[in-house]
């Protein structure tokens, strides 16, 4: 995703957050993601019903196996959970905080947990600039009770519930019951609006899309 120079910060932020949550919702219903999550918790020797054990195992796997790489300035890369897992398996992962959250929340969501992405101000200055994950157990635990548990994913030595000092949170829960199209299919569905919108007049359009638009207008 690349934003034009005139894009307002609010518009940019809303767009990013919206897509982030949609990618989590897609990932948690992906069978490949669920199989990987099950493999991780089984390999860690976590017994059934050990909710904190499962959450900790997935968190540690993400912290220790996904490699943190920054995005280019003014460009926001998003990766699906499946894509990032495959990259980890082939030793080519490169992800920033939002990708970490997508893969982490997708795997925990695939194991049946309520998950959320939490946008925070990691400098404590009120400027939302970082994403963490948050999860909730079904049964209350001695450590966290019934609370939402935020997780810092890009640093290996942060335990569940720990974060850097922040002053603002913007949490958004993923809805596993959503009936919308997956993000990857929405792009194809976008062809339905070819040539019909005046907003697209000044934007770049692929030649095939321009041709389809011309055919539609001639009819």
């Amino acid at each position: 995703m690349k934003f034009g120079p005139g894009t307002s910060a609010e518009h940019r932020f809303k767009h990013v957050v919206h897509l982030l949550v949609q990618l989590i919702e897609d990932g948690l219903r992906d069978e490949y993601v669920r199989r990987k999550a099950v493999e991780i918790v089984n390999r860690a020797g976590i017994r059934g019903h050990d909710e904190l054990g499962e959450i900790r195992a997935i968190t540690k796997w993400v912290q220790h196996n996904v490699v943190y790489r920054k995005d280019p300035i003014n460009v926001e890369y998003f990766q699906t959970a499946r894509r990032l897992i495959k990259d980890v398996e082939s030793g080519r992962s490169a992800a920033d905080c939002d990708d970490f959250v997508i893969v982490w929340a997708s795997m925990l969501g695939a194991l049946g947990y309520e998950v959320a992405s939490v946008i925070v101000d990691s400098n404590g200055d009120g400027m939302l600039n970082h994403v963490m994950g948050a999860v909730k157990t079904f049964a209350p635990t001695p450590q966290f009770g019934n609370k939402w548990i935020p997780c810092e994913l890009i640093f290996t030595d942060f335990d569940l519930g720990e974060s850097v000092k922040i002053s603002q949170v913007y949490p958004l829960t993923a809805d596993p019951n959503t009936t919308r199209l997956p993000v990857m299919m929405q792009k194809l569905a976008g062809l339905a609006g070819v040539g019909g919108s005046s907003d697209n007049r000044n934007r770049y359009q692929h030649p095939v899309i321009r041709m389809l638009g011309a055919i539609r207008r001639s009819k």
């Binding site: 963490m132 909730k136 935020p150 974060s163 850097v164 000092k165 922040i166 913007y170 949490p171 829960t173």
Partner: protein
């Protein structure tokens, strides 16, 4: 001959390329507290998701143990299904038998 490839005669030993020995980042529980503050929960609808009640249709599939096994329930579709299916099967069997034997 190097055939276009210039070997690096003084390769940097691995492990000295970056600053992975960064300072310890101070940890905090502000995210935990803010996330679970009543104001945040209310603003973002973070209450726990209710466990959905079982659907009504499920009742038919669950066996009812307060009846004796073999009791006929005339109001259920299953009884009529068995009766009509049995009658149809009997008619077919009789027709086939008659054709073969007569």
């Amino acid at each position: 001959m190097t055939n276009g490839y210039i070997p690096d005669l003084n390769p940097a030993p691995t492990g000295t390329l970056g600053n992975s020995d960064m300072m310890n980042i101070p940890k905090d529980d502000t995210a935990l507290n803010l996330m679970n503050a009543p104001a945040t929960k209310e603003a973002f609808g973070l209450g726990s998701a209710p466990i959905p009640p079982p659907r009504r249709g499920l009742g038919k599939a669950v066996p009812k143990f307060n009846r004796s096994v073999g009791d006929i329930q005339w109001k259920t579709g299953e009884t009529w299904g068995v009766l009509i299916g049995g009658a149809a099967l009997g008619m077919i069997a009789m027709t086939v038998w008659n054709r073969v034997t007569k």
